[in-house]
Amino acid sequence: MPQASDGLRAIDVDYLARVEGEGSMKIRIRDGKAEITEFGIFEPPRFFEAFMRGRLHTEAPDITARICGICPIAYQMSSAHAMEQVMGITVGGQLRELRRLLYCGEWIESHVLHAAMLHAPDFLGYQSAIHMAADHRETVELVLRLKKIGNDLVTLLAGREIHPINVKVGGWYRAPSRRELDTIVDDLVWAKEASLALVQFAASLPMPELEQDYEFVSVCHPDEYPYNEGRIVSNKGLDIDVSEYLDTFEEIHVERSNALQSVIKGRGAYLVGPLARYSLNFEKLTPDARKAATDAGLGEVCRNPFQSIIVRAVETVYAVDEALRIIDQYETPAEPAVPYEVRAGVGHGATEAPRGTLYHRYEVGADGRIVDAHIMPPTAQNQQSIEADLLSVVNGALDLPDDELQWKLEQSIRNYDPCISCATHFLDLEVDRE
């Protein structure tokens, strides 16, 4: 381990993490109490906000889909909804159902990748999923196939899995036929059993104990587990229209971070993501998803961030159920998109990316070009909650050597499934102990 000249111990960060952008954290420990003096994690969307100014509003779904290779659908959905609000149109009926179906595919692939391949090894003490595969071959085979079914669903609807291209402002470029959707039903039926097995696997993991008094925030719809549409609701009294997002939340600079941090104005930290969605919308899960959660030992509210791995598995069950329901009831729409006249205005979109609420705001000129773009990704919104978790974890593990502490902190950060969590070791940690 390198010894820095100022007496700090520096812990190596994996080279690949440097390539992808990294997380950095400095902790100062004095009198048996830890303080986070620096914390920041990589945020890809900033480049895109500037890049979109001057581009046509119709390009936003395709451009923003490129921000994240794991959650392109979320970016497409939030941007499409915001632009549709600008143009004064609503996408309903089967076109709306198809968008939910697309989101099901993204949730399946993202949740399965994260929970089983990236996060589970932390719980079991493996360096990576490859090391885990030697001892848990059946589980790894199962999740590889399950994830691929999510990919296949996205490819079926969006044209291609990596950078989907079929979603447009107003609906779709092309709506699939009933026969096309039927091709994936057998796989989804298999996926239902596999996702239930994934819940059991997640529930069997050794679970660290931590309970946090989060302010949960998610999109909430009166009748549906949230994907695309609804009000922004919290467990502490928040209930606003999406257009009030920036009146309610603000991004602030704090000295210890090079990234913006989101807070509820006048209140502070909040939490978006699986735990928040689940705790605010438990009754809207399908009966099988609710039962799987209960059997896994979860209550209707979940405040242990480490149990997010179980919640992701439960949400995978929901996504499979919802996909099967939508396909069962599907009728090919007469037109793939709603026509509209271009007009100037401001639009807001908030949808539920796998890792939490993704908010977009656009100002569009009369020529249909983007004047201003603002994106609040879930990871940025969760920064303060991540910090609070990390502080709790550090204070409960002050005696651990740095490498074990780093392991625990990376496991804690992965509760939030940020972009950088994909790297095996991504946290550049410095611990200053007296």
């Binding site: 390539v19 890809p44 490129r66 290779g69 990236l118 990919n151 899995e161 990596i162 950078h163 994909c422």
Partner: protein, 153 residues
């Protein structure tokens, strides 16, 4: 099933990480019959499915090994892991190198696996490929073409 499958891995929006997929795109219409060409973001299940039953798989990806940008290296990964000092770039943790080792662990390797790495130097969002890597795409295309055509095999 194709006798040979060529898989270009990468991300078109991340500078030199596009190299593997550019090679695949350049090869697509020119390879001999019996050769399948595909592009991938590195998803292990998709890669393992792609080479299932193939006599030979050729995987092309960007790498970081400390060599000058644009360097093209060939590895035979059939029985031995890729060198530890060579990092194959991945946007999401589970990239080509992970797919290979996962396949080895699960017993899902092709009969023969060859990997072409193209040394990259910049991988940030929205960056174009560096000129030397752009040139290397053509070099790698030629090498892979010779490989699948059986020249020098």
């Amino acid at each position: 099933m194709s006798e040979t499958v060529v898989i270009g891995v990468g991300n078109l929006d991340r500078g030199d990480d596009a190299a593997g997929r550019r090679v695949a795109a350049a090869l697509r219409d020119t390879v001999p019959s019996g050769t399948l060409v595909m592009e991938s973001d590195g998803d292990p299940a998709a890669i393992m499915d792609a080479w299932k039953g193939a006599d030979r798989a050729v995987l092309v990806d960007a790498m970081v090994s400390g060599s000058p940008p644009g360097t093209v290296r060939r590895f035979d990964a059939t029985t031995t892991p890729l060198p530890i000092a060579v990092h194959f770039v991945s946007s999401h943790g589970m990239g080509a190198a992970e797919a290979i080792e996962m396949a080895r662990t699960l017993g899902r390797m092709p009969t023969r696996l060859l990997v072409y790495g193209i040394e990259g130097s910049r991988f940030r969002h929205g960056e174009p490929m560096s000129p030397s890597v752009n040139d290397a795409v053509e070099v790698a295309r030629g090498m892979v073409m010779a490989e699948v055509a059986g020249v020098g095999d």
